[in-house]
Each structure stands twice: as structure tokens, then as C-alpha cells.
């Protein structure tokens, strides 16, 4: 491994220059080494960055690695950058959670769960690029099916969509708790 250690710097430089997440495969291709070695190098890089004398870290989001600042530096950075508050209303967050956990899903199906019209909320989510059309349902009127985007993964710090079922379990556990309470 140590043989490749100088490539850590190259990974750091690549992630810095690109900005968006880069997958392990893509890094492997660019560095002309095996994917396994990329993963090991990134692990080393993460360890190096764990020191409190470093302000950056490598996050795993949207199927790739992304360089970002550590949360403990947020307050300092806030002094520098006028952060545009990107807030989602509770209605938008609820709708997004339904889409995330039940995708692909139609507008009507979302409305059945939430008990209200969701047109404007869905449009907001589409505009923000958090959801997208993923197809048409084989049903009368061939309604649009919605799913989440990689922007969604980035915004919520998720590696892949596969992480969602694990989160769903957490919620189900609560339900079981309630039933036991009876």
C-alpha cells in the first residue's frame, strides 16, 4: 500500500478540482490503479484528515467521494460566505420522504398517503432537482412515476439509495415499540 501513498495527494487534488463526488471506479481509471487500492487510499486519506489540525474531510455521497469542510468549521465559514438558506418546508420534507421510501410512486399515490393535494410541493421538489420523472405507470392515464435524484443523495449525505431501507427499519422499530406498549 505504502507504494501508492503519493497517490493520496492526487486523489485529494482530483476531489478538490472536480468539486462533485467522484466514484471509486472513476478514480481507479484516472490513477491507473485497482479499485481496491483506491478504497484503501481513501481510507488512509480519511485517517490523515481526522486530525483536528485539518479542516477538510472526505464524504461518501451519491456513489462517490467528495471533499468537503468539517462541521466544526461551519461557524467560521458562515462568517465568510452568505449562505443561502436552502430550507424545505415540512410539507415538502414529508412528500420527499414518501417519494424516497416508496419510489417509484405517482402523484396520486402520494396524495393518498398525505391526504392532501401535492401538486405544488411536487413541483418545488422537481425544480430543486431533488426528484425526477422516472417513468410512467402502466395504469389508466399512464401517470408519471417519480423518484429521487443524485442531487437528493448529495443534499442528504447519502451514499446510495440502498441506505434508505436501513433508515426505514429505524422507523418500523418505533412502530413495533408502540404495539408492545398496548
Amino acid at each position: 500500500m505504502m507504494f501508492y501513498s503519493h497517490l493520496k495527494g492526487h486523489i485529494e487534488a482530483l476531489l478538490f478540482a472536480y468539486g462533485d463526488p467522484i466514484s471509486a471506479d472513476k478514480l481507479a481509471e484516472m490513477l491507473e490503479i485497482d479499485r481496491e487500492n483506491v478504497i484503501l487510499l481513501v481510507e488512509e486519506l480519511k485517517r490523515d484528515m481526522a486530525s483536528n489540525q485539518r479542516g477538510l474531510k472526505v464524504a461518501e455521497v451519491a456513489g462517490g467521494y467528495q471533499l468537503c469542510t468539517k462541521p466544526e468549521c461551519t461557524a467560521t465559514i458562515d462568517k465568510l460566505i452568505n449562505v443561502q438558506e436552502f430550507r424545505l418546508s415540512m410539507a415538502a420534507m414529508e412528500t420527499l420522504s414518501i417519494i424516497a421510501f416508496k419510489q417509484p410512486i405517482t402523484r396520486m399515490e402520494i396524495e393518498n398517503i398525505r391526504g392532501v393535494k401535492v401538486d405544488s410541493v411536487v413541483n418545488t421538489l422537481l425544480e430543486r432537482g431533488l426528484i425526477k420523472e422516472v417513468g410512467r405507470k402502466e395504469a389508466i392515464g399512464r401517470p408519471i412515476l417519480f423518484g429521487t435524484t443524485s442531487e437528493f443523495l448529495k443534499c442528504f449525505g447519502l451514499k446510495t439509495l440502498e441506505e434508505l431501507p436501513k433508515l426505514a427499519e429505524i422507523i418500523n422499530i418505533e412502530e413495533i415499540d408502540n404495539e408492545e406498549n398496548i
Binding site: F16, A17, Y18, G19, D20, K57, A59, V61, Q66, L67, C68, T69, K70, P71, T74, I77, I81, F86, L88, M90, A91, M93, E94, L96, S97, I98, A100, F101, I113, R114, G115, V116, K117, E133, G135, R136, K154, C155, F156, G157, L158, L167, A168, I170, I171, N172, E174, E175, N178, E179, I182
Partner: protein
């Protein structure tokens, strides 16, 4: 049970309001005291009315549902037939509330994740652009050959050209032939690309319409702007 302490906060929908009432009164969601909840729910709607707030139809539908459940609960129950469990009139509502609550909880969890992620800064995606590599080592022969092709066809432009070279019938057969060759399915655009002349395109289009009319082919598209596929309807033959 007082009506007076209902604060007129706005609720996204009837389910949000019901959840609020259940949580506020610490009611058991699996055994909702329906009379009590209905009364509070209606009180809320009345308060909205007093403040001239438009009540969305969903709220009224839910009010009707609650009243219906309430009346069914009041009816004297016939003795349950052996082994058959009578369904609780509240069951469907409870299921809806449970599902709604599940996504409410999911939303809270997502919001936390969103906040944590929001505390990190990233750099904007840098577009490194595209570099086009020009072909090298092209052969002069290819250039001459290409020229010869156009020059020849150009010359023939002045020859007598017969109109209506391709009949619709021919084109229909052509499409069927292509479909068979492609195992019964091909992309819409493929039935045009033979000579590419305008005449051929028009003929091909008319031939297609004819074939669809005869139920010989089926047209399908997976998603908007996606490729259109033609499928051979074998059964009709």
C-alpha cells in the same frame, strides 16, 4: 374536553390535524376514542369557519368519514358469528394514520440528515470541458472516393428521374421485412433509413399508418422523448 384551548394553527391536511389531536391528547392510535376525536376535529373546523378561513374539501371529507365511523361504533353489534372477526370500523382510518405517521417520522429523520449535511461546504462542480481529438492519418483515397460518390449522384440528378419510385405497398413490405429480421421489434427511426429521401420518408410514414390500421404492428414508447418501438403483431397473421 374543552373546545376553547384549540389554537388555530394551520394544518397541511386532515391527517395532519388528526395526528395533532391524537398526540396532544396522548391518545392510543390503535384505540382512538372516536367520539372525542370527532368532536375536537369538528370544533377545529368551526373555529376555522369563524375566522373565515377556507376549509379545503379534504377536511370536510374526513369530517364525514369520522361521523360515519362514530355512528357505526354506536350501532348495537350483532353477536359475532363463530370464528369470524368483525372488523373495527376505525381500522382503515388507523391504517392511514399509521402510514402517515411513518412518513412524518421519516421526514424528521431526513431533515436531521439534511441539516448535518448542510453544515459542510463543498466546492462547485468544475466543468473541465471537452477536448476533441481530430482524426489523424485519414487517407486521401477516402476523400477522393467520397467525392466520386457525390459527383456521380450529382450527375445523375440531371438524368430523367422517375417519380413515385417507392410505393406504399413496397414500403409496407420493407417494414415487415425489417421487423422480421429484427426479431419482431425495432426502433421507429429505423424504418426510414434506407435512402433517406424525402419521398421515402413520406411513403414510410404512410406505410406505417397503414400497418397500424391493419393491426399488424404496435407502437410503444417507454418514456416521453424516448425511442419509439415498433412491434410485429404475429398473432394477427
Amino acid at each position: 374536553m374543552t373546545v376553547y384551548n384549540i389554537k388555530l394553527q394551520s394544518f397541511e391536511g386532515p391527517l395532519a390535524l388528526l395526528m395533532h389531536l391524537i398526540e396532544k391528547n396522548q391518545l392510543n392510535i390503535y384505540d382512538i376514542p372516536i367520539a372525542e376525536v370527532t368532536e375536537q376535529y369538528l370544533a377545529y373546523l368551526r373555529a376555522m369557519e369563524q375566522f373565515n378561513i377556507d376549509i379545503a374539501s379534504e377536511f370536510l371529507v374526513m369530517a364525514a368519514t369520522l361521523l360515519q365511523i362514530k355512528s357505526r361504533m354506536l350501532l348495537p353489534k350483532p353477536p359475532p358469528p363463530d370464528d369470524v372477526e368483525t372488523e373495527d370500523p376505525r381500522q382503515e382510518l388507523v391504517n392511514r394514520l399509521l402510514e402517515y405517521r411513518r412518513y412524518k417520522q421519516a421526514a424528521v429523520m431526513l431533515e436531521e440528515m439534511f441539516e448535518i449535511r448542510g453544515k459542510t461546504f463543498t466546492r462547485p462542480l468544475h466543468d473541465f470541458g471537452t477536448k476533441v481529438i481530430m482524426p489523424e492519418g485519414l487517407k486521401l483515397d477516402e476523400l477522393i472516393a467520397a467525392f466520386a460518390v457525390v459527383w456521380e449522384s450529382g450527375v445523375s440528378d440531371f438524368a430523367v428521374v422517375t417519380r413515385e419510385e417507392i410505393s406504399i405497398q413496397d414500403k409496407m413490405q420493407d417494414i415487415i421485412y425489417l421487423l422480421r429480421k429484427n426479431n419482431g421489434q425495432m426502433e421507429f427511426s429505423q424504418c426510414f433509413i434506407r435512402s433517406g429521401s424525402r419521398m421515402e420518408m413520406v411513403t414510410a410514414f404512410l406505410a406505417l399508418l397503414e400497418l397500424i390500421k391493419l393491426n399488424r404492428i404496435n407502437i410503444s414508447q417507454q418514456h416521453s422523448f424516448g425511442p419509439i418501438y415498433l412491434t410485429w403483431e404475429e398473432s394477427v397473421e
